[in-house]
Symmetry: C2
């Protein structure tokens, strides 16, 4: 399951700078452009290509249609010492999330813990990007958001749920937070899209047709629904996360949420963040030493036959980050063309992007997610 | 997968009263006895028999061995406006959890939201019992706890994880909170125990042997480990919940936690609770009306072919509660004998239990969980 497109590699800093240039040229305020570009490139560094720079042009196309605001005006709708509800007014998801994370951390620092919600927002990148930020402040970070309906609740014919992800991150003595970021679907829809492209069948249990019938045909699956992780459990978790991020915040939710790629309405996504100060429970040194023990005993499982290692959540993310920072971020020809198209519409020179291209030898196959 | 033992049915109030009598006779303070009995009988009402009165004698046996304190002395180790850390000093999990829930609700009422942890505790019944209590206060309730290691992390040969459950509950206009309560394992270990008893094979993916190899042999599975929900996702979630409930609270965690039934050491379980005041986000009437929409659209999925309905999380629990309140709680002969054994050791008459027996016609098969 890898793309065979040849593609290029681009230095991550050049890629980020280029995204910022395009965003600024499109009228996004300078600070906001930096926030969005950082989130996109971070997703590519993490190997979450579906949340990476491939979205830049998609975001801008929605903004050009008037479905997303250029300047993200954030209202604090309600506030208490340990909660806040923000309204992003159809602005950029990353800009609203940056503000929400600042606020949740500030509140947790003051009163021990906090929950901050955001309504009327848009796609905000990976959930892990935000929980890692919270963890780096010496806190447990929790983040969820609801997404457009592509998943059938357990036993449902039609999709009434997003693949609503849940991320939890905590500090670790390695300096790299331990971080979980899981969609509540059985498999990423991206894998089904890829199987459809390659005329490959998909395993049973991944998806149902538009008639609600099990299918191994990737094309039928794309017209139908993905299935939740482990049936009722993943379905129940996705429902509760939709309630927490959508119903409780006043955002759109469930079957009604417009889809980013298909629907000409603002999405009005909801996000929810929590921060728990480690210091409110024990000194950080003690927590880190206990984390060392937890990490050690998990890794020394030992590996079962057929497995090379036992990972802590986020191991793969941190490894890919180190690798792509070093070797450059692999970009498919299609995404590269998309980036140039976005730049072209705003009169941005391709120089920064082109200058970031890293020459490489031979043909490589990029992992896809 | 149903038990064929004939068993009896007992009126839930008589069963609760009987458990209280036994607990009081064993020296548990009166208020605490009421708290524990209510939790046990509630689990049976919910159909979670593994967390019900079957545990009464098990708890008392551990107390008699000096592994659990008779009187639960609760220290507040740390406290901030929106957090608290309690030490249960090897007391009763339910008594500590009742206190933690009171505190988390009180704090959320004052400052909007809160997180309260408990360390050095014991089994505290179902997670849903506690989140439903929080939801009935007009809040989102979240609860997790860590359990003794019976589950292998993804790719691990040996069990370094409990099946650490996660429960989330929210108010609903029906008066019955919508409530998720999911273990992070692929299947309940109880199903494997039952398959071993019945000489039935178990499906692939449920468990591995003590050598870390896949197995469909229920007996080999019981000597080995259960597997996490959906591989890396359930594994990662269980790890993060162990960190939240065990590492962060100062409780025991991971591979080191003693097992309730086998190990002659205090378990020192950790619990974690969060409460989020709905009022801090929107008026309750608005929330309930949005919940109505969420419930309606979920149920009207419509059901896929082969399904009778699409459920909201907790539907089954509420239905079983209504049914068993009406018809009496099914108790197997083995559990009935266990209850009498516990009563006998403390000179408690079986009258209350016997008087609660409900006559019934014909042979029935009880569902098992």
């Amino acid at each position: 399951m890898a793309e065979t497109t040849r593609g290029v590699r681009v230095d991550w800093e050049a890629l980020k700078e280029f995204c910022e240039e395009v965003l600024r040229a499109a009228g996004i305020p300078e600070k906001d452009a930096g926030i969005v570009a950082a989130s996109l490139v971070d997703a590519d560094l993490a190997g979450m290509k579906s949340h990476g720079v491939t979205r830049l042009n998609d975001y801008l196309l929605r903004m050009e249609q008037g479905l997303m605001a250029t300047t993200t005006k954030i209202d604090i709708v309600r506030e208490s010492p340990s909660t806040a509800l923000l309204d992003a007014n159809d602005g950029w998801g990353q800009v609203a999330s940056e503000k929400a994370v600042e606020l949740v951390v500030e509140k947790a620092r003051e009163v021990g813990s906090a929950w901050v919600g955001v309504r009327n927002s848009n796609h905000n990148g990976t959930a892990a990007y935000w929980t890692i930020k919270i963890a780096r402040e010496g806190m447990v970070g929790i983040c969820s958001m609801n997404t457009s309906p592509v998943m059938a609740a357990h036993g449902s014919k039609l999709p009434t749920l997003g693949t609503n992800p849940l991320s939890i991150a905590v500090p670790s003595s390695s300096g790299r937070p331990v971080v979980l970021d899981m969609a509540t679907s059985n498999q990423a829809r991206g894998k089904i899209i890829l199987a459809a492209k390659n005329n490959d069948p998909i395993p049973e249990g991944w998806a149902i047709t538009s008639e609600g019938l099990p299918t191994t045909d990737a094309r039928e699956a794309l017209k139908g629904s993905v299935l939740p992780l482990g049936g009722p459990k993943g379905s129940g978790l996705a429902i509760m996360l939709d309630i927490l991020t959508g119903v409780l915040t006043g955002a759109e939710f469930g079957a009604q949420m417009p889809r980013m790629y298909d629907d000409p309405q603002p999405q009005r996504v909801g996000h929810m963040f929590s921060a728990i100060s480690i210091d409110a429970f024990m000194p950080m040194t003690e927590f880190l030493s206990r984390m060392d023990q937890k990490e050690r005993e998990t890794r020394e499982g030992p590996p079962a036959p057929g497995f090379e290692r036992v990972s802590m959540p986020g191991d793969g993310t941190h490894e890919r980050m180190a690798m792509y920072r070093e070797s450059g971020i692999p970009i498919t020809d299609e995404v590269y063309a998309d980036l140039l198209a976005a730049a072209g519409r705003y009169g941005v020179s391709p120089d920064t992007l082109d200058s970031g291209r890293i020459p490489r030898e031979g043909t490589q196959r990029w992992g896809h997610r």
